[in-house]
Amino acid sequence: MEITGSLSVLGAGFAFGVGAIGPAIGIGMIGAKTIESMARQPEMAGRLQTTMFIALALAEAIALFGFVLAFVLMGQK
């Protein structure tokens, strides 16, 4: 198979792929801890959920920078 495309495409793939590792671990930890807290204090579940989504959004934002970067790199010739 012939390899086509520029290195920037490769870079774009890495930008998103590698950039998503950290946030993925973070989101997993947020979810695990939230479930743990909910099990411990079910009456706080509502507030915990809101806080969880905010924390998720923050972690996700980092992955999104990778996503944007990937798009930017894709456009480079």
Partner: protein, 166 residues
């Protein structure tokens, strides 16, 4: 890169449609619904309060009725007890009276029987004497055969017996 750059026509459409939607929903959709939700919450709260009030009132009445019932029951018991004593007394009285009356009746009867008996005895004695005199006269007046003799005695005895019977 191209996909990340916002396109002008989309910005305009998104902005105007959002603002129009905000005005429409903010005027016609959300206020009635939130008002209704508040009303419902208020209504539920009111009904719950009213129900609670009614419950407390009912409990109070029940308590009152219970007390009244107990009082009435005690009263009725007392009345019955009283009636019973009264009846008992009356019964005793009546029995005593009846006994007394019976006693007096009996003594009276015994008395009268004795008196009559005495009178009858006296009369009998008198008649026996008369009879004896009459018999003696008859004997003296005529000769008696042995048969006559027996018949006479028998008659006398029968007479005495009949007298005694009376």
């Amino acid at each position: 890169m191209d996909a990340l750059i916002p396109k002008m026509p989309e910005i305009l459409v998104a902005l105007t449609s959002f603002l129009v939607l905000f005005v429409i929903l903010g005027k016609f959709a959300f206020p009635p619904v939130t008002k209704m939700l508040d009303e419902r919450a208020e209504k539920i709260r009111e009904s719950l309060e009213k129900a609670e009030e009614t419950r407390v009132e009912a409990e109070r009445l029940l308590e009152e009725y219970k007390v009244q019932m107990a009082e009435a029951r005690a009263e009725a018991g007392k009345v019955i007890e009283q009636g019973r004593t009264v009846a008992e007394n009356m019964k005793n009285e009546i029995i005593a009276k009846a006994r007394e009356e019976a006693e007096s009746e009996r003594t009276k009867a015994i008395e009268s029987i004795r008196a009559e008996k005495l009178a009858a005895m006296a009369e009998l004695q008198a008649s026996v004497a008369d009879l004896s005199v009459a018999v003696a006269g008859k004997i003296i007046g005529q000769q008696l055969s042995a048969a006559d003799h027996a018949a006479l005695i028998e008659r006398s005895i029968a007479e005495v017996g009949s007298l005694h019977e009376n």
